[in-house]
């Protein structure tokens, strides 16, 4: 980010634009880029999920709007935009309107602290990991807000379930994160990424010393994202649609958008922690191998890093959709029991193992 900052400042200094303007816009422009990229990515994700779910169940998925159904999500988005925003009787108006806004803010912020490539982290603090942990749990609070303000028993039940879920699944995540911090001796996501570098490519990834942690983290993130088989907060067959039963039109669209954005952010987070983030799985970058040490290669490397990160997260998203197509929903009680009696002890054992590997001379 420093390199980009100085390049930007130099460019502004050429045209005698004050430094303050540069300081402000340097942080605004990236977030505009995120906002645009996010919209496009969510459109792609929704289509990919529906298509994949179709093929997993021997159907075709959406195939009417545009070639191969490409414009389906766009059509859905336009439909949601045109719909009426209904505010039911008896709702807490202020909180009801506030919840969709609040659900989007942490999602957006979480995307801002992910290192996309070596020079491109929008907010690079030294404790990125802990910040991310807090931001990832935040949408649940707005879900509870929306469910409570809706004045609907199904919404409230869904919201309460999501709170119980996030409380029980946040602890295993924390323990797994601690083991990652032990392995990399860093609480910065860029630091964690760089700690996984090795000449042999993927051999240095933390998934190998910490495979139990990866499984625990994956399951917990499924629960945090309210994905199948942990989609209790919006269980369609029991609670109609859970917390967003009463939402319609644009407000519902924002809930939907943030759900998929969080899916994307969390899969990238997993990829950074365990699959080496933006590092190439072959050790050296392809553009360096093809173009040598030329100036073009040094620029192309950044794009290649983004590509690797997106590819890894796409793989994880594929697995998440695959699981959704396979497993049925857990009962509410089983879910909590599974977390407290299995995942939490396993994650603590994993932390002990990792400490032994790191400081016991096993690695």
């Amino acid at each position: 980010m420093n390199l980009l900052y100085f390049m930007y400042m130099e460019y502004l200094a050429k045209y005698n634009i004050p430094k303050l303007f540069g300081d402000i816009t340097f942080y605004i422009i990236p977030f505009c880029i995120i906002a645009l990229a996010l919209l496009i990515i969510v459109l792609i994700l929704v289509l990919a999920e529906r298509k994949l779910l179709g093929y997993f169940t021997q159907r075709k998925g959406p195939n009417r709007v545009g070639y191969w159904g490409i414009l389906q999500t766009l059509a859905d988005a336009i439909k949601l935009l045109c719909k009426e925003n209904i505010t039911p009787k008896g709702v807490d108006r202020f909180l009801f309107n506030l919840a969709p806004v609040l659900v989007f803010v942490p999602t957006f912020a979480a995307l801002g602290i992910i290192p996309y490539c070596a020079e491109f982290t929008f907010v690079n603090t030294s404790t990125n990991v802990i910040l991310y942990l807090i931001l990832a749990a935040f949408p649940i609070l707005s879900i509870f807000l929306g469910g409570w303000a809706s004045n609907n028993k199904y919404s409230l039940m869904g919201a309460m379930r999501s709170i119980a879920q996030v409380i029980s699944y946040e602890l295993p995540v924390t323990f797994v994160l601690l083991s990652i911090v032990v392995l990399s001796s860093s609480t910065n996501l860029t630091g964690i990424t760089l700690a996984q570098y090795s000449r042999a490519g993927f051999a240095g990834w933390f998934i190998f010393p910490c495979i139990i942690g990866f499984v625990v983290m994956f399951v917990s993130i499924l629960a945090e994202l309210n994905r199948c088989p942990f989609d209790l907060p919006e269980a369609e067959s029991e609670l109609i649609c859970g917390y967003n039963t009463e939402y319609s039109g644009m407000r519902f669209a924002i809930f939907y958008l943030s759900e998929y954005a969080m899916l994307f952010a969390n899969s990238m987070f997993l990829a950074i922690l365990f699959l080496g983030g933006y590092l190439s799985p072959f050790g050296g970058y392809i553009s360096h191998i093809l173009l040598g040490d030329s100036y073009l290669a040094s620029i192309l490397v950044y794009f290649e890093q983004v590509f690797w990160l997106f590819l890894k997260s796409a793989l994880l998203i594929f697995i998440i959709i695959w699981i959704r197509a396979t497993l049925p929903r857990l009962a509410s009680f089983d879910l909590l029991k599974f977390s407290w009696s299995i995942l939490l002890p396993v994650s603590i054992v994993n932390l002990l193992l990792v400490v032994l590997i790191k400081f016991g001379g096993l690695l």
Binding site: G54, F56, Q58, W322, I323, I342
Partner: protein
Amino acid sequence: MKFIKAAINISDGLLTVFKHLFRKPVTLEYPEKRRELNNNFRGKLTVDGCIGCGVCKRVCPSGAISYEKNLNGKVLSYTFDLNKCIFCGNCKYYCPCGAISMTKEYELASANKKDLKLKYNIGVPEEENIKENK
């Protein structure tokens, strides 16, 4: 032990679902692509070479067939009411001269109920009857 069993079951299920990815989808995009019909398919009825014996009316389980007689008691025309017809094929089976046949036409939805009452005049060539019913 219990968890190992559960893990095996889950992975077995995941594998089964994954195999579906490589199978051909069973969905057909209906108006453009249609399923191939069997030769025994029972669709819309047509009549050709009727002798007016009235057997079909008697065997029809849903009472979909009615006929018009002249003063001498001779049958002039048959009406097949597709609103009532259950496409069982009984009339075709019992017809003594094989006059009734069932086409492969199955898109019979119509905004007007009268369109589904097919009238076949006896002693008139088949094409004219079909023209009349369209």
